[in-house]
């Protein structure tokens, strides 16, 4: 299958997501520059981590205006799997593809460390290979990952089973101590109502090889490969125009 990794000028985990998809999973992966308007046949889209436009304003606030976001929105509306990691999650919030907003971490400091998350939902394209309540150990690296939303929206998220990941301890117990940034209800990641758009603050792409300290993130990529193989979350041909992605305009190096 073919992954499109969107590259905003300040993306800095684009190469990591590309490496995970291509080198670790052995799938096809291409960079798509944010000024492009066509995802050219991608089967899944990754919005990677980073500081899309410097994020001096709100994180992701400018990225949502990038030309490529129209294509991402269409792709999402057509049911295609979209994964927003860290800054990518923040962009999905700003773009209205996922509900809620980010506050600064409650400690007011950037935090980079391995944390545990508990998988709450296994019917999204990025968790369907997980066991219910499986605990994944993955790194976080953010200053604004304190997820917040209104009580109404929160109720809706609960009702629709849109909370996909919660921060937990190694045993899967959700607690305030295990919540690294103060996110409401320990939310680490959510999905859209249609379940095909998933955003999370932890970095699964940094946890795909044991030599890096954890390979727990791999299951998220394996999930979407499995979904693709089973024909789940496939996009209508009219949206995903067939054809190879070219290197032109990519940020590969």
């Amino acid at each position: 299958m073919r992954f499109a990794v969107i590259v905003f000028p300040g993306s800095n985990c684009d190469h990591d997501a590309h490496h995970a998809a291509k080198e670790v999973l052995g799938q096809e992966a291409e960079f798509v520059w944010h000024k492009e308007t066509d995802l050219r046949g991608a089967d899944a889209v990754i919005l990677p981590g980073g500081f899309s436009h410097g994020d001096y304003l709100r994180t992701g606030a400018i990225a949502r205006f990038s030309p490529v976001m129209d294509a991402v929105k269409k792709f999402a509306a057509a049911g295609g799997p979209v994964l927003g990691i860290c800054n990518g999650f923040q962009i999905l919030l700003e773009a209205g593809l996922l509900p809620g907003a980010m506050l600064r971490n409650r400690g007011l400091k950037f935090r980079c460390e391995h944390v545990h998350v508990r998988v709450e939902q296994t019917d999204t394209p990025f968790t369907l290979a997980c066991r219910q309540h499986q605990v994944l150990r993955m790194p976080i690296a953010h200053g604004e990952g304190n997820y917040f939303t209104t009580p109404d929206e929160l109720r809706k998220l609960e009702q629709n089973r849109q909370i996909v990941f919660r921060y937990a301890d190694a045993q899967g117990e959700v607690s305030d101590e295990a919540n690294p940034n103060g996110s409401i209800q320990s939310i680490a990641g959510i999905c859209s109502e249609q379940r095909n758009v998933v955003g999370l603050m932890p970095h699964p792409e940094r946890a795909c090889e044991l030599s890096l300290g954890s390979a727990d993130g791999l299951v998220m990529f394996e999930s979407v490969v499995k979904a693709h193989a089973a024909g789940l979350f496939a996009v209508a041909a009219s949206v995903a125009k067939a054809g190879a992605l070219t290197a032109a305009g990519s940020a590969s190096s």
Binding site: N12, D16, P139, G213
Partner: protein, 747 residues
């Protein structure tokens, strides 16, 4: 040529120049300089840019070797790491700005060193830093440290280069003069290293990046003077960093470098447009003719003087092949950057600066660089030395050994720095094999089986007590840390932080330290490929400890064989490599338990050190070891404890060798002496024999001292128990000590 003029003494002094230097300027121009020219000379001949006091000493450093692709003199050094690749690296200080404005000072220090690396055509893949602050009881120090750490994090995290390690120490002498030394490593194709050179008459000169403002004017001159109570007024001379702009520059420049349209490139760091222009011209034996009117400006009404001396950040100067301009411009446009054509390369060897066509400066490029003054400054032994080198221990130690261990684990110099590195993104780019605090920083090189281990080290207290030994100890510790990861040290960079070189005793410290680095690097066969000198680190006439900091890069051929400091499991043999002597001089033990900074720092047998490092590299390659951790601050007891931390409670029971020392001090000497050339390794039982054989063959003392896995840290000397403490209890002290200082502040 407009307005050469006679300058009065006050103007000359304000430019940090003395009479003699002014006459030298007049002589090299054959006339009086214009004000713009005076400004240009003043920054280029500042200590920071010209190395005028240090150059005679630095010439002695070993800078060559079979792996060296680029030695000192370029933006960064480079060594061959095989597979057609080069490791490009350098360390640089940003001390003065980090005192005046901690966040921006540190942030722009990170930005500056990153530009030095990608300027060479290398993709930066790792950052490290070496920091020195005053004692943390002082709220001003905590504020300064919080700002520096946040600044390093803010810049490195945003641009997406992991900060994979470093070191921090605390001494009162750094209260008004913190040290912020930043190291960056990049990877380039060995045959595609790009230089900061201008050549080819008629080739266009481009300016790209942030617009020029009035920030940082005379930053280099500021970094070449001491501080006093008015230093806060110098805040406008500190620049403001924009990591997003640098990220755009980084990606765009690397893309331009992949074309062959580029002749040379240099960042505008200290002394900004002035330095980049004349250094590129000088290296290429060419002249450069630019018009400041074409320089993108952030403020209105800027004079040529201001534009040439501004140290606005995130700016690059490029020389492009004529006829290829459009290609280069298009790449910058893709990244929303505007490349401004500001001049041409000439064949007259002159740096010619125009302002809307009118020439305002015209200086031979060599006059600014190669002909800068070089001083052989007088040196004399500092009078304090004989007093502090004499160590008279009290009759008996002040505390029991286990209490001393507790105190040492809580000492900010030894305590876990996770409160700091948790603020740094240390995993981005998915190469970090050894996380910060777990040993040397280790990053894999994607596309190969190799990995690089990095360590920055230096102990100001040792160097204060004996700069020669202190410098040797800095080199051997950095190299040993790298060897503990299983890496062969292949190159080094140094950052030399000292006081006012015009004082003979400071210059003596400097000279001795360079001698020490030279001796150690020669003995270990590690070339110095570049570095940085920071002088005038004084506040109100009080100098910092002389602080040479070494950054060493080591190569691991097989990344799967990387070692960390942690014990792995129960029942493994613990072996002490090297021998402990009664060497408490300059130790953390004396500082923490006796409030004493005295004695001679540990002596180093460089042959023994080399053999030890060879043993480590060979044993790692043959997979004889499970972990390796060197003995440094705090001695053997601290090292053993640290091997148990981060393991989830794997403990140890060891019986360590007795040491020849007065009876009352015997256990202290065995546990807390900081004797060099020692490493604690853990070894699978079945490989113990092979390790001991190898050690014997290389002449390295090796002794099995015990085994892992009791949940406790139990240490005896000749069968007599001296320390017994639970791993979790000890680890909690070590883990929480630093954060405690910052919690206090919040409360």
């Amino acid at each position: 040529m407009s307005a050469p003029q006679k300058h009065d003494r006050a103007t000359i002094e304000r430019h940090g120049l003395n009479d003699e230097e002014y006459q030298r300027i007049v002589k090299s121009l054959g006339r009086e300089p214009s004000l713009t020219e005076l400004g240009i000379f003043s920054v280029m001949w500042s200590e920071h840019c010209s190395y005028k006091s240090s150059r005679v000493h630095l010439r002695n450093l070993p800078t060559t070797g079979p792996r060296v692709l680029q030695g000192p003199g370029e933006n960064a050094g480079a060594v061959d790491i095989g597979d057609g690749l080069a490791a490009v690296f350098k360390i640089e200080s940003h001390n003065h700005p980090s005192f005046i404005e901690p966040y921006q000072g540190a942030a722009t220090g990170v930005g500056g060193i990153i530009r030095d690396i990608f300027t060479m055509g290398a993709r930066p893949i790792a950052l490290m830093n070496s920091l020195r602050f005053g004692e943390l009881d002082d709220p001003r120090v905590r504020r300064n440290m919080e700002g520096v750490v946040a600044g390093i994090a803010g810049y490195g995290n945003s641009i997406g280069i992991p900060t994979v390690g470093g070191e921090i120490a605390f001494e009162e002498c750094y209260t008004g003069n913190p040290l912020v030394n930043v190291f960056c490593l990049g990877i380039a194709k060995a045959d595609e290293i790009i230089k900061g050179v201008a050549k080819g008459t008629g080739n266009p000169v481009y300016y790209v990046g942030s617009k020029t403002g009035r920030d940082g004017i005379h930053g280099a001159t500021m970094a070449s003077a001491e501080f006093d109570e008015n230093s806060a007024e110098k805040r406008p001379a500190v620049q403001v960093g924009d990591p997003f702009m640098e990220k755009l520059l980084l990606e765009a420049c690397l893309e331009v470098m992949k074309t062959d349209a580029l002749i040379g490139i240099q960042d505008m760091g200290a002394a900004g447009l002035t330095c980049s222009t004349c250094e590129m011209g000088s290296r290429g034996g060419a002249g450069i003719d630019i018009d400041v009117a074409h320089v993108p400006q952030r403020e209105t009404g800027m004079t040529a003087y201001e534009i040439m001396l501004s140290e606005s950040q995130e700016r690059m100067l490029l020389v492009v092949k004529r006829g290829r301009e459009r290609e280069v411009e298009e790449i910058f446009e893709k990244w929303d950057l505007h490349a401004a054509h500001i001049g041409e390369v000439t064949d007259d060897g002159l740096m010619r600066v125009r302002d809307r066509g009118t020439v305002v400066a015209e200086i031979p490029t060599g006059a600014l660089t190669d002909d800068a003054p070089v001083y052989t400054r007088p040196m004399s032994t500092p009078p304090y030395l004989s007093d502090v080198q004499a160590l008279s221990l009290p009759e008996k130690p002040a505390s029991a050994d286990v209490d001393a261990l507790r105190a040492l684990l809580a000492s900010p110099a030894i305590a876990s720095k996770h409160w700091v590195y948790r603020q740094y993104d240390h995993m981005v780019r998915t190469n970090t094999l050894v996380l910060p605090g777990m040993g040397a920083g280790v990053v894999r090189v994607k596309g190969t089986n190799r990995a690089l281990a990095l360590s920055v080290d230096g102990n100001g207290r040792y160097s204060y007590l004996d700069p020669y030994r202190g410098a040797i100890l800095a080199v051997v510790e950095a190299a040993r840390n790298v060897a503990c990861a299983g890496a062969e040290p292949i190159g080094a960079t140094n950052c030399l932080n000292f006081g006012n070189p015009e004082r003979p005793e400071i210059m003596w410290q400097f000279g001795k330290a360079v001698e020490g680095i030279t001796a150690a690097c020669q003995a270990l066969d590690i070339p110095i490929t570049g570095g940085n000198v920071s002088l005038y680190n004084e506040t109100d006439g009080k100098a910092i400890y002389p602080t040479p900091v070494l950054g060493v890069v080591g190569l691991i051929e097989d990344a799967s064989k990387v070692l960390g400091r942690c014990f792995k499991s129960s029942g493994d043999a613990i072996v002490l490599l090297g021998e402990t002597r009664h060497e408490l001089g300059g130790s953390e033990y004396l500082k923490v338990t006796q409030r004493l900074t005295a004695g001679m720092p540990p002596d180093v047998d460089l042959k023994a050190e080399r053999a030890l490092q060879q043993l480590l590299v060979a044993s790692a390659r043959e997979e004889l070891l499970l972990s390796a951790h060197d003995c440094a601050e705090g001695g053997l007891a601290v090292t053993l404890s640290e091997c148990a931390f981060g393991t989830g409670g794997v403990g140890l029971r060891v019986d360590v060798p007795a040491v020849d020392a007065p009876a009352a001090w015997a256990s202290v000497a065995a546990l807390f002496s900081e004797t060099a050339s020692r490493v604690v390794v853990s070894v699978p039982r079945e490989k113990l024999g092979a390790l001991l054989d190898r050690a014997r063959a290389l002449g390295v003392p090796a002794r099995e001292i015990g085994a892992t896995g009791t949940g406790r840290i139990s240490v005896s000397i000749n069968g007599q128990g001296v320390i017994d403490i639970g791993v979790h209890e000890a680890e909690a002290i070590w883990d929480g000590a630093l954060e405690e200082y910052f919690k206090q502040r919040a409360a």
